[in-house]
């Protein structure tokens, strides 16, 4: 018997019409030639045209930072002294911080790394900071002339340095002995096969290869990157993982060798049952040096309060509290001894003027260079 399908009620969408509608929507979106070449994020307006910020209270502070990256008592001290409140928000990566700002969220104070300070300042996303209007900033630039005109921000025109750190190797003395070789080749130590972690960070990992081969740590050259990935392929069989939870890996006993940020050694000291079983070394081929900054985004609604906050944070008594709380050294003259005492078992954690001048800095390269580096990193990570 031949069955004819029942007539469809009028108005109900058929499968074909739904598919046609969906295809139309997608084609309509794809046929937006006006978008071609446009920035996905708004980077058109520049903050450099805005007048200089005056350090005075112009509203409550909207604060955007890594979690736990400032002593809470310092924050509450600012609130009670200036009779303002602080609205706190946290980010978990520089990329998400930048994306939130570019999406139009308004924050008064942020803490970008040097590389991101350069990127955001060049994109006109940071307000100009006139340090002569501040009380505590001039001492920094006098004591640390490196920061007066750093590579990432000409004349420190958009930023004030906040913290400094370097990258090295942490190891378990009870497993591998009291000293390693002081070289990046220590990451290839076969005694720690299956217990070695590299940082889950493109710049840091490619940097290890570059430093061992004597290349620029920011190289975007295909040939050099191929040599770097070949070298790093030889460490992969020894690895337990790529992880930036560096001090957790060490403290949980999962890592005997950990590619490590110096600032996190203070956490090892404060949380370990027996800190004497851990060591930290920097490497003779070269040490990556990094710093985080204070900066005021272009769309900040209370830039005056933000600048006053930076000046308040730079008071040596507040810097001491922050050093003790987060474990990172800060370029404020007179606080160096506090940090030296804090990390006494790990003297290589101390960041000196010489380190800043002669260390290796991760910067921005060209779009083609970025792509080549990203492809190399994928090769190393997933290879």
């Amino acid at each position: 018997m031949l069955l004819t399908p029942p007539p469809r009620p009028s108005g109900r969408p058929t499968r074909r019409s739904v598919l046609r509608g969906a295809a139309g929507t997608l084609l309509g979106a794809a046929a937006l030639p006006a978008l071609s070449g446009c920035g996905y994020l708004n980077t058109e307006v520049t903050a450099d045209d805005l007048p200089p910020v005056t350090p005075e209270i112009d509203g409550d502070l909207v604060y955007f930072n890594w979690a736990d990256y400032v002593d809470p008592t310092v924050l509450s001290g600012f609130c009670s002294e200036y009779k303002v409140s602080i609205t706190q928000a946290n980010y978990d990566s520089m990329e998400s911080m930048a994306a939130k700002i570019a999406a139009g969220n308004k924050y008064d104070i942020i803490f970008p790394s040097a590389k991101w300070t350069q990127r955001m300042a060049q994109a006109g996303q940071l307000r100009r900071i006139d340090r002569s209007r501040m009380v505590n900033a001039p001492a920094i630039f006098k004591g640390y002339p490196y920061f007066a005109d750093p590579w990432y921000d000409a004349d420190s025109g958009h930023s004030i340095p906040f913290s400094m750190y370097k990258t090295g190797i942490a190891w378990r003395k009870d497993k591998l002995g009291p000293a390693l070789g002081g070289s990046w080749s220590d990451l290839w130590d076969r005694r720690a096969a299956g217990y070695t972690y590299l940082l889950d960070d493109e710049d840091e990992v490619l940097g290890v290869g570059a430093l061992r081969l004597g290349y620029d740590v920011n190289t975007g050259d295909q040939h050099r990157l191929a040599r770097i990935t070949d070298l790093l392929a030889t460490v992969r069989p020894l690895l337990r993982g790529f992880s930036s939870d560096d001090y957790t890996n060490i403290l949980d006993g999962n890592a005997w060798i950990q590619h490590m940020w110096s600032g996190d050694m203070a956490a090892v000291l404060s949380q370990a049952d027996d800190a004497s079983i851990y060591g930290f070394e920097t490497c003779r081929e070269g040490t990556p040096i990094n710093s985080d900054c204070y900066a005021i985004p272009r769309d900040a609604e209370h830039p005056g309060t933000a600048l006053l906050f930076i000046d308040y944070m730079l008071r040596p008594e507040n810097v001491r509290k922050n050093i003790a709380y987060i474990g990172y050294p800060m370029p404020v003259p007179g606080t160096e001894e506090d940090y030296r005492k804090l990390v006494a078992p790990f003297p290589d954690c101390v960041v000196t003027l010489d380190d800043l001048e002669h260390g290796y800095h991760f910067g921005n390269t060209t779009a083609a260079g970025n792509q080549a580096r990203d492809a190399a990193w994928t090769q190393v990570e997933a290879g």
Binding site: L35, S36, Y40, L239, G241, A367, N370, Q379
Partner: protein
């Protein structure tokens, strides 16, 4: 034959009720998908900012065999996760639905409540549990397992994490299917001489196949795109495609390549889902014939 005015009014009402959902999906799903599609043909500038464009370079970059290798690994892990979830969830759902009595709701709540806690937090808990110095390995070593045996950074840990993370998506649809099962069918099977296993195999299982199919899909899809378990519990050999995509957006700052990778993943998932659904539909049709 013309529709009556009443029928037309009814159809119009249903169309209006469809509107909020349609708008929602158009803006937040198709709109986002459209942006992703456009961005996959885009470029980045020297500062890493993404720009719309019309290059095929991002798709060409995906020809690197590494991406296919990671996608195949992710498919394998997601498929194993789905099957293990089914093996774990079916007996649990069966026991609750057919033998839970008045405690059924309480038992289902007991299954669901642990999942109120955030997945990421639970995975961090797993890291501590499975660590070399953690309680699980300490116990195993105490029981005589060799000191060299490790759990963290192994496929077992990653798949275990995925199973733990998504098993509830299997329990609920299977439970719902078993709840709807007419118990007299099982009794009839037994009356007609079927043993417990035969009855289960020929009556219960076919009747709950749709629930299991839904569960397999509900587990497979998020497991395939997951990056937390591989990131926290796995090592370099257990990297999954979700981690690579996340990396393109938040590490390598190459949003266009990340978008192209997402489109590729969606195509692979679409292909897998269509094949699977077609197969399941054919089996269901044969079962009811």
């Amino acid at each position: 034959m013309k529709d009556s005015p009443r029928a037309r009014r009814g159809t119009r009402l249903w169309s209006v009720l469809l509107l909020p959902g349609t708008i929602w999906m158009t803006v937040f799903f198709l709109g986002a998908l459209g942006i992703l599609l456009l961005l996959s043909f885009g470029t980045t500038d020297d500062l890493g900012n993404p720009h719309f464009g019309h290059t095929l370079g991002n798709f060409a970059a995906l020809l690197n065999p590494i991406y296919m290798q990671v996608i195949l690994r992710s498919l394998l892990y997601a498929a194993l996760t789905s099957v293990i979830c089914l093996a774990i969830a079916y007996p649990v759902a069966y026991a609750i639905a057919l033998h839970g009595g008045r405690f059924k709701n309480a038992l289902i709540a007991a299954v669901v409540i642990p999942f109120f806690a955030n997945y990421l937090v639970r995975m961090y808990g797993w890291v501590t549990l499975l660590s070399d110095g953690g309680p699980v390995l300490s116990l195993l070593h105490h029981l005589g397992v060799p000191q060299t045996f490790k759990l963290l950074s192994t496929p077992y840990a990653v798949i275990g994490g995925l199973v733990y993370g998504f098993v509830v998506f299997m329990v609920l649809p299977v439970y719902a299917a078993l709840e709807r099962l007419d118990v007299s069918l099982i009794e009839a099977g037994r009356d007609l001489g079927g043993g417990p296993l035969t009855t289960f195999w020929r009556v219960t299982l076919p009747a709950t196949r749709q629930g299991a199919t839904a569960g397999l899909l509900l587990v497979f899809l998020p497991a395939m795109g997951d990056f937390v378990s591989a990131q926290l519990l796995g090592g370099p050999q257990q990297l999954m495609i979700g981690s690579l995509i996340q990396d393109k957006f938040f590490g390598g700052q190459d949003w266009p390549l990340g978008s192209a990778l997402t489109m590729l993943l969606m195509l692979v998932l679409l292909a897998c889902t269509s094949v699977y659904l077609r197969q399941a539909t054919r089996e269901a049709r044969e079962a009811t014939r």
